[in-house]
Amino acid sequence: MVVSLYNFVLKLLSLSWLTGPIFEKELRVSSRRRRNYVLRFTYLALLTIFLVLTWLAYVPRGGTGLYQISRMAEAGKGIIAYIIWFQFIAIQFVAGIMLSTSISDEIYSCTLGLLMTTPINSFQIVIGKLFSKLLQLILLLAISLPILAIVRVFGGVPWGYIVSGLCVTLTTVLFVGSVSMFFSIFNRRAYVVIILTILTLGTLFALLPILAAMFLHSVVSESQFFSAVSYANPYVLLAFDTDRMMSPRMGGWPALSWAVHCVIMLVASALLLLLSVLMVRRVALRQAIGELGTSSRGRRRRSNTKAVSTASEHRDFAPPPRRVKGPAVLWKELRSPVFGRRKIAVLITIAIGLIFLFVTYGFCADENALDDEWVHILYTVIFLALGILFTIILPATCITSEKESRSWPLLLATTLSDRQILFGKFAGVLRRCLPVWALLFGHIMLFTLAGVIHPLATIQMGILVAWIVVFLSGTGLYFSVRFKRTTTAVMMNFGVAALIWALLPFVITLIGTIVRDFRDFHAFCELYWDTNPFVHAVVIIAATARNGGLRRYDWLEVGARDVSEATIWMLSCMLGYMFLGLFFAWRAKCRFRRNVF
């Protein structure tokens, strides 16, 4: 009796009833994956770089010892805030990536159905997967704990901020992981899951609060609104807490709403996990009885296809096949549907998006803000970000998807030249990117017709979009040839864009604040910023969106103030980036027949 009670307590404490053997298996497998070590190293390296740069920015060299000591508390606050924010954002990204294949891998290696033939239940599958990844994320968080403890010695940082920051990070990561895992049940490709996760989080934490702010600004005060939003929005909450910590007037301690926020996030995660458990069970049972795929829609489509093919044996009901016109690869790329197979779902999403867009236009019109340049800058930046996102993804998938469907060797075994294949693929990328870029041009042309934006903006934005597309298509094609898996290629292309347009500008700006005395470096920093596509977009719209007139082009460093000078600068950037893009495309062509299998 005592022994069995003892065993029961042991089992209860070991948590194996919660996760089953999945947790153990995941830990064992993850220890063999090189990418996990690369991830930890990269995380630690980035954390260290930011830490060093922040330290140098806050505690400048030179000056008396007393001055330096007086800066310590300020430096401590700054460093802690940097670490907390770095962890908060970086670990969300890592969680989204790590859990993006958690269920889909099991589905497509057909092991989910196998698991259902064992006593393991879907709850254990979901929790086992989630906890194993969370453990690794907690390990990443734990790496920074000694630094947080040491930096606190400098003084000025309350424990409450660190504790609340870590708790908010943990609950947000749990929520992000749950969202990513939920989407991984329905999507095979990790990058689709990652994008869906980003879009969902963007909608929840940015779009909905903005829309709510638009509609409620006359009903509630700004502070009331943000206070209410902070209960469900970790970004707003952490920004509030950081502001309180940095401000000497507020006493530094975070507001108690963080505890309520954490509970809300935990409940939201639990609900999402419950839904995932139910969905996993359905998919697993379907697989256990021999049906592949994830959705009933897929099943319906397959059965329809079979029905069509059976019918075609007797009566020619199926639409006749289309004839191949022009170069083979080009034809194939242009033939495939722009919106994929889920045409109706995509069209509904587009329709909802457009309705939202026109609602925001209506709201801006109501507020007489449609002739405000900042409104158009905001729209342009959002559309540009969307366009860049799709232009990152589509070229990176075009050859890896051939490799994954194993048709790549067949294509290479034909008499098609590498150049023909490359051009065909590039044309396909252009065609698929077109609808997304149409949003940006649609907005600019609409307001050009309305007399708000100068027509020149269309041409200058055309130059900008042209080099973005060529550059990202070149790098995307290269990574698509270089790697076997679509996810790796997409992540690499995303990494290149993030590196040159987000990380490097941020790092060199930090370095610029450290070496304030070196004017040349400062000028270099600003010149580098002036090559950034978002800076281009902001400068173009700021110069052209004022009742249809033209203003000065306010670059950070470049002295191109009038239209012709600004256009020459844009064309120079276009040349540089296009050269780089074409170089990558050429390297892709050279590697076509390497790593074929």
Binding site: T305, S309, R323, S405, R406, L412, A413, T415
Partner: protein
């Protein structure tokens, strides 16, 4: 038609193919046999220009696969050991796409695609999407794709793997038809009995090295295999054993159940002598059959089954 000279392919420290010398005559069906990981697929991939050899050369119709890649690809139809499909294409579109990829004129394509569909008995599936086809149908489609540009050489990597017996027989018949059309076919398979029925020559490869190349008849002396005859007599089996043991050509006589297994000396064959001796000795011969060397036996004797 196909010739390799000291062909080698290394993957880091692993040698997949080592000094492989191979000759396949025009119009032959060549069976390429070997255990898993022996180097069959690597050799085939080199021949179709998808892999570069580390050393040595390979020629298709006198063209160096390294230097004349595009011309070689025009001559060769390659069917890999997997089916590469474009999910969103129909059967006719899939074939026409490859016809266009092989630069066949547009006006000729329809008749060519219809021709290969007929040859592979896929006309009823021309409007079906490729991914809705069964495994057997997909294999047929693979063969149809290979034939689309009317290549002189067909290199087929395990074309019958995973098929049911009926589909295997149909593929076999199709290959015979292709041989009649004058195609040179190199085929690898694990179903050795099938190769035995259709191949003119076989090559057995292990550890990347060719351990045997020639006709099935040439394997016996190469392996030092003695010829055997199984005999059954209606009565007095002991007397039969006594008579046969006395013959100088015969090295061993063994009784296995109701049968007598007679082993001849080197290069000796003589089922005629056995029959004559037994009949002259007043015995009724009810069964007499030379034991044939099966490809499976040769494969087992020539290879050790060790994989890389």
């Amino acid at each position: 038609m196909i010739k390799t000279k000291n062909l080698s392919k290394d993957y880091g420290s692993l040698t997949a193919v080592a000094n492989l010398n191979l000759t396949i005559q025009q119009g032959d069906i060549f069976g390429f046999i070997g255990p898993n990981g022996a180097g069959k697929t690597t050799t085939m991939r080199i021949l179709v220009t998808l892999l570069e050899p580390t050393h040595g050369t390979a020629f298709i119709d006198g063209l160096d696969v390294r230097k004349k890649g595009k011309k070689v690809r025009k001559l060769v139809g390659y069917m890999p050991d997997f089916m590469g499909v474009y999910d969103d294409l129909k059967v006719f579109e899939y074939l026409e796409f490859f016809a266009a990829a092989f630069a066949i004129e547009r006006k000729k394509r329809k008749s060519i695609v219809d021709g290969v569909l007929e040859l592979t008995d896929l006309q009823s599936k021309r409007s079906a999407t490729v991914d809705s086809l069964s495994r057997g149908m997909q294999q047929r489609l693979g063969l149809a794709r290979v034939l689309i540009h009317d290549p002189k050489v067909l290199i087929l990597d395990e074309p019958a793997s995973g098929l049911d017996p009926r589909a295997r027989i149909e593929i076999r018949e199709l290959l015979r038809e292709l041989k009649r059309m004058g195609k040179t076919i190199m085929i690898s398979s694990h179903i050795l009995s099938e190769l035995e029925e259709i191949c003119d020559h076989v090559g057995i490869i292990e550890h990347g090295r060719m351990v045997f190349s020639g006709t099935l008849e040439e394997i016996r002396p190469r392996l030092g295999i003695e010829s055997k005859v199984r005999v059954q007599v209606a009565n007095n089996q002991d007397k039969a054993v006594e008579l046969l043991s006395a013959l100088p050509q015969i090295r061993q006589v063994q009784v296995i159940d109701d049968y007598i297994s007679v082993t001849f000396g080197d290069d000796q064959e003589g089922d005629g002598i056995i029959a004559r001796t037994l009949v002259n000795g007043g015995l009724d011969v009810t069964f007499l059959q030379p034991e044939q060397l099966k490809l499976d036996d040769a494969f087992l004797q020539l290879t050790k089954g060790i994989v890389h």
